[in-house]
């Protein structure tokens, strides 16, 4: 058989096709990430930014590098990392953010699984409609949807008034829903739910229904059919959904900003604060790096646990 002929000449075609996204990622992801890593070892500038490494020589007007082999200690430091570990407040904030993101992921999974299953088992037309409904919120702006939650959870909303009226019957003090951890979780779940539903649906939709018939035929009750067949086969979809929800939720800052109170700050808020309010770029970079590292560490642990589980069987 002769090799198929591609218009662009097989060998170069793949480079030609992948060059634009590669270039894009190099320019706007890889290089900025490296700049940020470098920034984590520098000193903050007097008015924000960083202590410059390059200056204009007043005599010659030429730009020259200030950093030399002798004076590098004036420009580079581990102090920023030291600061992260000195005060337990940062670690606690990390833990709290992981807790928020983890809880959000869990709630999304519990809500999305039956929903995705239902969508996957509906008729073709209903299925398309339901998928459309799941992604419908994306048609409006993210911030507007979060503002809507501020109104829904606000003290003047019907929801709050009915709830507090109901609590009042039992003599319970009125509760404030907005600006609380509760509101942050609600917001996080609301925003991320579609990212759990879609990969789960994509997975469950492909399941071979005859496997469930076979399991039932061979003596499995409904509970066993789920845990022995559907659940293990849906794990790729579950992991995809978990990653798509957990990672963005961990770095979220808009929702805690708008819906959270003084005690519901997340890492994202702290990073934003360092870059925009305190104008301490090096420490902001350190926090960003620690966030990335901790997510990678978590993924590595999950992969290790997964492979160990497989070997055990």
């Amino acid at each position: 058989m002769s090799k198929p002929v591609y218009g662009l000449g097989g060998r170069y075609a793949k480079w030609l096709i992948s060059a634009p996204p590669l270039l894009y990622l190099l320019l706007f992801f890889a290089i900025p990430a490296l700049i940020m890593v470098f920034a984590a070892f520098r000193f903050p500038g007097d008015y924000g930014g960083l202590v410059p490494l390059v200056d204009v020589n007043p005599d010659t007007g030429a730009r020259e590098l200030l950093l030399t082999a002798e004076n590098w200690r004036d420009f580079l430091t581990f102090e920023n990392f030291g600061r992260f570990f000195e005060d337990s407040i940062y670690l606690e904030l990390f833990l709290k953010s992981f807790w928020y993101a983890g809880l959000t992921t869990l709630i999304c999974l519990v809500l999305a699984y039956p929903l995705s299953w239902l969508i996957a088992r509906s008729g073709k037309k209903t299925r398309d409609l339901l998928v459309l409904l799941v992604i419908l919120p994306f048609w409006s702006n993210f911030l507007i949807r979060v503002y809507a939650w501020m109104i829904i959870l606000g003290p003047q909303s019907y929801f709050s008034r009915v709830l507090n009226g109901f609590l009042g019957i039992f003599g319970i003090e009125p509760v404030s829903l907005l600006f609380s951890q509760f509101a942050v979780i609600i917001g996080l779940v609301y925003v991320h739910l579609p990212f759990m539903v879609l990969p789960l649906y994509a997975n469950l939709e492909k399941h071979d229904m005859s496997l469930l018939d076979a399991a039932q035929d061979l003596g499995a009750n409904a509970w066993q059919r789920f845990w022995k067949v559907t659940w293990p086969l849906s794990l790729p979809g579950v992991w995809a959904g978990v990653a798509l929800v957990f990672i963005p939720a961990l770095g979220m800052f808009a929702i805690p900003d708008l819906l959270g109170g003084t005690n519901s700050m997340m890492i994202g808020n702290l990073i934003k604060q360092q870059f925009l309010d305190s104008r301490d770029w090096p420490f902001g970079s350190v926090l960003s790096i620690m966030l990335t590292l901790s997510v990678l560490l978590l993924a590595a642990v999950a992969a290790w646990a997964g492979s160990r589980h497989k070997k055990k069987d």
Binding site: D208, S210, L211, D213, A214, A215, Q216, D217, L218, G219, A220, N221, Q224, K228, V229, P232, L233, D313
Partner: protein
């Protein structure tokens, strides 16, 4: 008492009656086949035996107990599915162990039984493989082992060989017969392949339009079809339209329309004047350039070879009789030194004995 009794079972889907008042009994240890074209109700009947469908009326009695409303997971009945339905995330051994685990068997027992079954289906070396690493025939054997492992009273097989190629199918047929003898479990087998049904079964129920047309041993079904449908569906058959002219104790005379008179064995209830057809298998017809007319039990017709189909071991000759009627005959290519006997347009003579055919009343 029979192991399985189906009593007057009816199943409708909307306006469509899939199974229409079917009654039959399957004996313990039997290899029983439900045979019929697609849409004849055989699969619906099988699904009712497995428990996936409930009959609208009638009883399904298994070992003395009416199981019509017992859910599939509670029936001592397992199914080998058409696409095998092996669990892709489990190894061969885990697949086979599945029914035992569901039944809550002890680990020792599970290991012992799985090893036994792996040996039965000759897959000892494949215990740790996953289904996607197996060939079609191996998957088939895993599916059978999994369905047999906790000794069901009844094993249902839903066209299990249809996904295999012809050669492998034949090999698996032999394996199935051997395995069924070994384990002694009653098999109810569903197929639309009449050759498979004839080769495998102790008894066959030929189904058509939701009803059992004939229930008999394979050789009875083949030699003495009770209806035009059965004669036509099972194997090749000449169906010659005829009417009864005379009924005797040992012979019955027919007038084959446009050809002439011939004798046949009398059938119950036949009366002169009744119409029907003579079912005549191609291999029961003699064919020659000229045949000696010394046997009064035979009837002779002249014709011309219209077409021949050379199949290697045999050649099928389509012979056109003088009145234009086409009759299919078959000759083994057994003549030494010759590839076949006749060519197109050769003049030939046909003959068959009075007991070669079987008259079917319309």
């Amino acid at each position: 008492m029979a192991l399985l009794e189906i009593r007057d079972v009816v199943k409708r889907f909307g306006d469509f009656t899939a199974v229409n008042h079917v009654s039959l009994a399957v004996e313990a240890g039997e290899f029983f086949t439900l045979l019929g074209p697609s849409g004849c109700g055989k699969t619906t009947l099988l699904r009712m035996l497995a428990g996936f469908e409930q009959p609208d009326s009638g009883e399904i009695v298994l070992d003395g107990q009416n199981v019509a409303s017992v859910p599939p997971e509670k029936r001592p009945v397992h199914t080998v599915f058409q696409n095998y339905a092996l669990f892709p995330h489990m190894t061969v051994a885990q697949n086979i162990a599945f029914p035992l685990k569901m039944a809550g068997a002890a680990t020792d027992e599970i290991n012992r039984r799985v090893a036994e079954l792996l040996e039965d289906v000759r897959l000892q070396d494949f215990a740790k493989r996953y289904p996607h690493e197996l060939s079609g025939g191996q998957r088939q054997r895993v599916a059978i082992a999994r369905a047999l492992v906790n000794r069901p009273k009844l094993l249902l097989l839903d066209e299990p060989l249809s996904a295999l190629d012809a050669k492998l199918r034949e090999q698996m047929q032999i394996e199935l017969i051997t395995l069924q003898k070994e384990v002694g479990i009653t098999f109810v087998y569903v197929t639309h392949d009449q050759g498979e049904a004839l080769a495998l079964s102790h008894r066959i129920a030929v189904m058509n339009q939701g009803q059992v047309e004939q229930l008999d041993a394979p050789e009875q079904i083949y030699s003495y079809p009770k209806s035009r449908f059965v004669a036509d569906f099972i194997g090749q058959c000449n169906l010659l339209d005829a009417s009864v002219t005379e009924v005797g104790a040992e012979r019955m005379t027919l007038e084959i329309s446009g050809v002439g008179a011939c004798h046949t064995l009398p059938v119950a209830g036949a009366q002169p004047g009744q119409k029907g057809c003579l079912a005549l298998r191609p291999e029961k017809i003699k064919l020659g350039a000229s045949l000696p007319a010394d046997d009064s039990d035979e009837v002779h017709f002249k014709g011309r070879v219209h077409d021949c189909l050379y199949l290697g071991d045999v050649t099928i000759y389509i012979v056109e009789l003088d009145n234009g009627m086409l009759v299919e005959t078959m000759l083994p290519n057994s003549a030494p030194g010759r590839a076949k006997f006749f060519d197109d347009n050769d003049l030939v003579e046909l003959a068959w004995r009075f007991d070669a055919g079987h008259f079917i009343l319309a």
